[in-house]
Symmetry: C2
Subunit: 223 residues, 2 copies
Amino acid sequence: MASSTLSRKIANVLSEEILKGELMPGDRLDEQSLADRFEVSRSPIRDALRELASTRLIEQQPRRGFAVATVDTTTLRNLYEALGELEGLCARYCALRADAVQREHIRMLHAQGQDAIRQHDMSAYAEANHALHRAIYDACHNDALRDITLDVRNRLSMFHARFLFSEDRVAQSRDEHEEVVDCILRNDGNGASEAMKKHVAKTALNIISHIMPDNRKPATPEA
Amino acid sequence: MASSTLSRKIANVLSEEILKGELMPGDRLDEQSLADRFEVSRSPIRDALRELASTRLIEQQPRRGFAVATVDTTTLRNLYEALGELEGLCARYCALRADAVQREHIRMLHAQGQDAIRQHDMSAYAEANHALHRAIYDACHNDALRDITLDVRNRLSMFHARFLFSEDRVAQSRDEHEEVVDCILRNDGNGASEAMKKHVAKTALNIISHIMPDNRKPATPEA
DNA sequence: AACACACTTAATGTCGACATTTATCACTGG
DNA sequence: CCAGTGATAAATGTCGACATTAAGTGTGTT
């Protein structure tokens, strides 16, 4: 929790703020303002920003500073397509390799999500949802694949954070989770993979349909 | 090529040196030494190192500086498994989505590799090989997936760089490429994916069998 | 009135020095 | 002779100031 170095602490704080949606895509991260806010010099701020850039949560343009990463609709679609494939892979390997403890953990997290829905506690559901996906990454027994998937999910989570899901969508999501979990528990790799891909695709459709209407300027003006 | 900022230039130089194998995994990157070598202060060096760390080519341990990333055998296997899946995905999407120009480009690059083999020019083959894989990533029409795959391949290329392949292995590799390219050219997504996964798996086996004998200390001593 | 040029300003890039921490090594005690 | 502790030294972490660049603004001319 308490990282040894200032820059690490600052990076963690900023990271959470971005993930929570307090800092919006496109927001500029001014070094001096941040230095004033954290009451440190610009050096640790620079280090923190560089570190955050490594997660692609923020972007740097030389001589133009850092800004919270923005993505255009195409990139968003691509990221969700990639996330679907990656989570599908995690689910497949999870179904084939997870040990008994991990399977039980996954089963339990899914149950927690169901409880949260019954109590109409959307915040608890979001947490259980996140933990479930995370548990599946962990149980795929491939740390590299887990890290890659987690990175993509984090890049996207700043969009998730800004939208409350309708009760309908949450119920649908629960059913999709159930299919994934069922496949995992019965060692059905292909089934788990397909179910997970379908689940992510539907989530993507839901998010993108919320974002589409807005006229935010395209993010990466690269060719 | 000529990046505007010092740190960017330095990062590029160091990156190439790592990718070429001139800097070996585990080599420490001392800030002061690098500052002396590039005749700049430590600031741009620090920026460059932070930027390199974002590609995972080098690793940072707080208060202990940076070092060229080292991976233990397990991580290496995981990375190759992930690379196989990712390249399989790229090949699948490539087969389904590549346009005529891209298909022709891929066909040509494969032919170049074959020529290189006939002339026993291993350097040219390595280059054509790299270009072919790269062309397949590009033609998958998903920049996010392409970038992720490229990152993993770069992380592994520092190991590739240190081994010359036997003529036997190169010939085998050529045949595997041919199968991939054939599938792509006939829009066979599943075939391309499977062929590519097989190709990467065999390459991995080849590399790992070269590395296994050595007694290098495990890289990431994390729990 | 519109465009172009120059100036001002505010940001990042770079520098050198100081602070802090960690690792090494010598010394002392058992 | 080994182990533990302390000091020393070398590395990274942090700081404040200066240099440089890019953007914005204002003025002058066509």
